[in-house]
């Protein structure tokens, strides 16, 4: 699996398109089926494709384990911070207080777009972390 030049070239060329599709599913979460969880899993699939075609050492040079773990924890704290932001302005916790725009546009539905973004980052970092931990295990007891 490691010495196939076709798969390596194709995986490297397809990577930005898979990221783009994942962000499309995330940002159109309130207009069509999709949302944070679905987009995050698609983004994690891109990094898994890179791992399967190049090997774990080269992929970890680009997407480091430490950065992904810090990103995941920051995403959960950002979710809680977005909920507390409503309390600073006088609304209940996690209430949709940003202006609801015109129906059908991307810039509508208040607090849903930042929440979708944060959830997608967290799910992508989590799935990649699980995959790295399963691949890097070398039989120590």
């Amino acid at each position: 699996m490691k010495n196939s030049r076709i798969i390596r070239t194709l995986a490297q060329k397809l990577l930005p398109f898979i990221f783009l599709f994942g962000f499309y599913l995330t940002f159109h979460g309130h207009l069509s089926p999709g949302g944070g969880f679905q987009g995050g899993v698609v983004i994690a699939t891109a990094i898994i494709l890179l791992t399967l075609s190049y090997g774990i050492k080269e992929t970890e040079n680009r997407f480091k384990e430490k950065h992904l773990s810090v990103l995941e924890k920051l995403a959960i704290l950002a979710f809680i911070f977005l909920g507390l932001l409503g309390i600073f302005f006088g609304y209940p916790f996690l209430k949709n207080f940003l202006p609801l725009g015109q129906r059908g546009c991307i810039a509508s539905a208040g607090l849903m777009i930042p929440l979708n973004l944060v959830i997608s980052i967290k799910v992508a970092a989590g799935m990649t972390g699980i995959f790295y931990a399963l691949v890097k295990y070398r039989g120590e007891i």
């Binding site: 995403a75 959960i76 539905a109 849903m112 699980i130 931990a133």
Partner: protein, 85 residues
């Protein structure tokens, strides 16, 4: 030998359950809650996707605990497969 008893029990349960359930198919009972979400969903939240408006606006607290469940799965896997000394 005990395994064969379980399998025979499973086959009998399957035949009985599949033969006996015939729902009045296609009419949910409590239409009041569903009608509230279908009528006021768009004007309360501004999102067209009603499923997203349920799990991100009316019940956003469950989604917060959901992400914590996924975080616990990552902690569990990382701890089990770590190189302890």
């Amino acid at each position: 030998m005990k395994k064969y008893y379980y399998i025979v029990l499973l086959i009998i349960m399957t035949i009985l359950i599949i033969g006996s359930i015939s729902p009045e198919y296609g009419n949910p009972r409590n239409m009041d809650y569903i009608n509230y979400y279908l009528e006021h969903g768009v004007q309360d939240t501004g999102a067209i996707n009603l499923v997203a408006s349920i799990y991100l606006d009316y019940r956003a607290y469950d989604t917060l605990i959901e992400t914590v469940v996924l975080f616990m799965a990552v902690i569990g896997v990382t701890f089990i497969l770590s190189k302890g000394k």
